[in-house]
Symmetry: C2
Subunit: 253 residues, 2 copies
DNA sequence: CGAAGTGTTGACTAAACTCAAGTACTGTGG
DNA sequence: CCACAGTACTTGAGTTTAGTCAACACTTCG
C-alpha cells in the first residue's frame, strides 16, 4: 500500500504529455475507439477509468494469466502482442488465438470462474486490468457496457467458429492466407500498414494455431514468396498481391 | 388447472401424464436442472416463465433461426436435437455444433445483432423462446441471471476451443471418439443411458462437424465395430469399451 | 564467439481424400 | 403392404496433401 502511494506520488511529477504509456487514461488512449471505452460516453468513462489497473508492462514470455488461475479480471492489451493457448490432456500446447492492441482477453474465465487458457506476452506488452466485479457492476449500471461485454464474448464465439471452419475445410495455403489477411485487417483497424508488418509470432506458433507443422508453414511461405504473393523476410511480411491471398481464402477449390 | 383440463381435451386421448411438452412451465420442466431455470429461485422463476414463448414443435429440417436473421431471442431446447451450421464463403456447409435438450442456442447473435449460424431441427423438436430484451432485463434485475448468461457464452467459447484443438491435433479416430464421449456425457446429464443411444445426426453431419469425409467416418465406425469398441447398428450406438474410447481421445499417440 | 533456438529444404511416408461401385434404409404413392 | 425412388451408408482402389525424419542455415543473445 505504502509502495503504491509512493508510485502515485512520483507520478504526479510527470508532465502530462510525457506520462509513461501505462499511466494514460482511457479518454486519451490512442486505442479507445476499438477498446472497452467505446461502450461509454465521456462523463461515465470516468467510472471505467477509476477501476482500471494499469500494471507495469510484461516482458516477452511473461503471463497475463494462466490456465486454471482464478478468474478475477479481464484485460485490455495496450501495446504488444499476446498469444492464448491451452495444454491438451496429453501435455501438448494448443494455441487458440493471437491478440493485438485494443483487444480484450480473459473472458473465457467467466463460466468456470477460472481461466480456460493461458495468455502469454509474445513481446513486451502493456496490459490494462479491469477487475471483473467492477466490470459486472458497470454492466448493471450502464446497459451499453453490458451489451458491449456480451458483444465481445459473442465476437469471440464467431471468431472461434471461423477458425473451426478454417481447420475443418481448408488447405495449408488457405489457412495461412486467412491468418495473414486477419492480421492485415487488424493492423488497418489500428491505422497501421495493412500490407507490410512484422509477424509477432513464431512459425511454430502459426503452425500450432492453424493445425499445421512448422515445416508446412515454412514451405507455404516459401511458395508464396516464389510466386510473388508475399515478400517474406524472416518475420517481416509484405503483401505483394492481396487479391491473390483473398482468392485463396475464398477457396476457389 | 382448468387450463390443463382444457388442454388435455384438445390433446384427445392423452392421459394427464403425457401433456404436450411445450405447455409445461419451467418449474415443472424435467430439464430445469440443466437449463436456464437454474439461474433463478422459485419466486423469481415466475418472471422467467412470463417471458418464455413455448412455440409449437418444429418438424425435422425446420429452422429455429437462420444465419443473418435478426437476433431477437435465445432458445432453449426442450426436446429433439438441433444442429448449428454456417455457409462458408464458397457456399459449403460447416456444421458448428449439435445441441441437446436443456441446451441454449442463439447466443452467437448478440454482437452483430444477427445470427451468425443457422439452427435446424434434426428431428421433431420443441423449443422455448426467450426474447433477448427480456433476458437482458432479467439479467439487470437478477445478478445470478446475468452471471448465468455470461457463463453460457463462456462455455460456448470453451467448447469451441476444444473443437479447435480436436480439429487441429487429432486423428479421425480421436475426433470420433471425442464426439461419442461428448454425447454420452450429455445423455448422462439428462439421466439417459450413457452407453446406448441413437445418434441424432447423419454420418455426413458428423464428418462435416469433425472435418472428415463421410467415407472416413464410416470406416472409423466399422473399425470400432470390428475391434469391439462399439456396437454400431446404423444410428444405434452401444459403447462396449468406454475406456478404450477414453484412451483414444487422451491421444496416447 | 559459440550454443541454443528458429527457420528452411529435401526425401520419404502415412493418413485421409477422391472416385467409384454397390448395399441398405426411409418414406411415399399406388 | 409393397414397390420404387431417393438418400444414406459402406467398402475398395488409387491419389494427394501434409506429416515425419533428417540435415543444414540463419539469428539472437549470453
Amino acid at each position: 500500500m505504502q509502495q503504491i502511494m509512493a508510485e502515485n506520488l512520483s507520478e504526479k511529477n510527470n508532465p502530462v504529455s510525457c506520462r509513461s504509456a501505462f499511466q494514460t487514461k482511457c479518454g486519451n488512449c490512442r486505442l479507445n475507439s476499438i477498446c472497452l471505452p467505446i461502450a461509454l460516453q465521456e462523463p461515465d468513462l470516468d467510472s471505467l477509468d477509476r477501476v482500471i489497473h494499469r500494471n507495469k508492462p510484461l516482458r516477452k514470455g511473461e503471463h497475463v494469466f494462466r490456465e486454471n488461475d482464478n478468474f478475477t479480471a479481464i484485460y485490455a492489451i495496450r501495446s504488444g502482442f499476446v498469444k492464448a493457448y491451452r495444454l491438451t490432456d496429453d501435455g501438448k500446447e494448443q494455441v487458440t488465438g493471437f491478440y493485438f492492441p485494443g483487444e480484450i482477453i480473459g473472458l473465457d474465465g467467466i463460466s468456470q470462474n477460472k481461466h480456460s487458457v493461458s495468455a502469454k506476452a509474445l513481446e513486451t506488452a502493456a496490459i490494462c486490468e479491469i477487475p471483473f466485479e467492477d466490470a459486472e457492476a458497470l454492466s448493471s449500471r450502464f446497459p451499453s457496457m453490458q451489451r458491449h461485454l456480451f458483444s465481445l464474448m459473442s465476437q469471440e464465439i464467431i471468431q472461434d467458429q471461423q477458425l473451426i471452419t478454417l481447420l475443418s475445410k481448408n488447405t495449408a495455403e488457405e489457412r495461412i492466407s486467412a491468418l495473414i489477411l486477419s492480421i492485415s485487417d487488424r493492423n488497418a483497424a489500428r491505422k497501421l500498414s495493412p500490407t507490410s508488418f512484422r509477424l509477432p509470432m513464431s512459425r511454430t506458433d502459426i503452425g500450432n494455431y492453424l493445425g499445421l507443422t512448422v515445416e508446412t508453414v515454412s514451405r507455404v511461405f516459401s511458395r508464396f514468396q516464389k510466386n510473388g504473393t508475399l515478400e517474406v523476410n524472416n518475420k517481416e511480411i509484405t503483401i505483394l498481391d492481396i487479391d491473390q491471398l483473398r482468392g485463396i481464402v475464398t477457396s476457389e477449390a
